[in-house]
Assembly symmetry: C2
Homo-oligomer: 189 residues x 2
């Protein structure tokens, strides 16, 4: 039954990601979870780089995430920025050394090596298939999608720039490439 095959192979690929993350992180004394949090902060936009954002993404509790971010901050891999308008909020951004550390770990070497033998179109096809899988999985479970801003139903085009229909704020093009915790795909119907 190919459904189980998909599950088993995905699980195995996850193991490899984790094993490699362990090796990579070991260099800088980081654990897989910490690398994942760092990776998320690198990808997400300014509405999503908070404790709550990481919490929803990693599926852990906010207490745990708070600890993880404290470690990353102590090692100088991320910086802390209290929100100017809402004083409950704290934003975290990868520092230069955080981004450098991340560049070693993403993409995983075993993935680079495996996809090296494939053509660009084949790789793109695989990426599209996986994204499609992820998307339908998230829709059916009514979970947060964390998609790129530019694929969001709230994203509005204003002249040559963009605008978020939720916050009303104006967005640059790079802004719309980042992932957002409020992201929703357009309605299928």
């Amino acid at each position: 039954m190919s459904l189980k095959q998909v599950h088993n192979t995905l699980e195995r690929l996850c193991n490899l990601l984790r094993v490699e993350a362990r090796e990579q992180g070991a260099g800088g004394g980081l654990l897989p979870v910490q690398l994942e949090a760092l990776h998320y902060l690198f990808q997400c936009n300014r509405y999503s780089d908070t404790v709550q954002g990481v919490t929803e993404y990693l599926g852990q509790t906010k207490g745990t995430v708070s600890q993880t971010l404290k470690v990353l901050e102590n090692r100088g891999l991320i910086t802390r920025h209290p929100d100017s308008s809402d004083r409950r909020l704290v934003h975290f951004r990868p520092s230069r050394s955080g981004r450098r550390q991340l560049a070693h770990a993403v993409p995983a070497r075993f993935l680079s090596a495996a996809l090296e033998t494939k053509s660009a179109t084949e790789t793109q096809q695989l990426a599209d298939d996986l994204i499609e899988l992820l998307r339908t999985a998230q829709e059916t479970r009514a979970m947060k999608t964390f998609g790129a801003c530019k694929t969001c139903r709230f994203n509005e085009r204003v002249a040559s720039r963009f605008r978020c229909g939720l916050t009303g704020e104006s967005l640059s093009k790079p802004d719309t490439e980042k992932i957002c915790r409020e992201h929703q795909y357009p309605e299928a119907c």
Copy 2:
């Protein structure tokens, strides 16, 4: 760059697998790692159901794995079988209640739901692509493949039955569907 897309999406899918494993396992008081070990023991053949086998598969140390298996045994999810010929070896097999517990967790519900909307051939195509990706990834890193016995270069056909060229033992058809720690794909050349 689609290589990073593949990495990011895979990482996200891993998160979902883990989140769901946490929910599922929480019912029986199991942690994600323990479920993974149980799942491995369910899939592997009689040469691979040892502490060392699980160790190589999960990429942890044998001390850790020994602990994990002790927990699973104490909860009655696996049974312990000392090897008859080599008295250093201990085999572990999922019990009835272990298999029942596993049936709840595999395949993950979000995967079932997502692939439900696809045709059988599309699902099979995705499975094949992932298996292919896994295979080349493992080849390039010279790591253990843990493939199904029937795809192994040591597998020999004898009349209507099979035989392992490494151990010399005769194998049944179901035997050859299980995964093995000594597995090697046939040479590409």
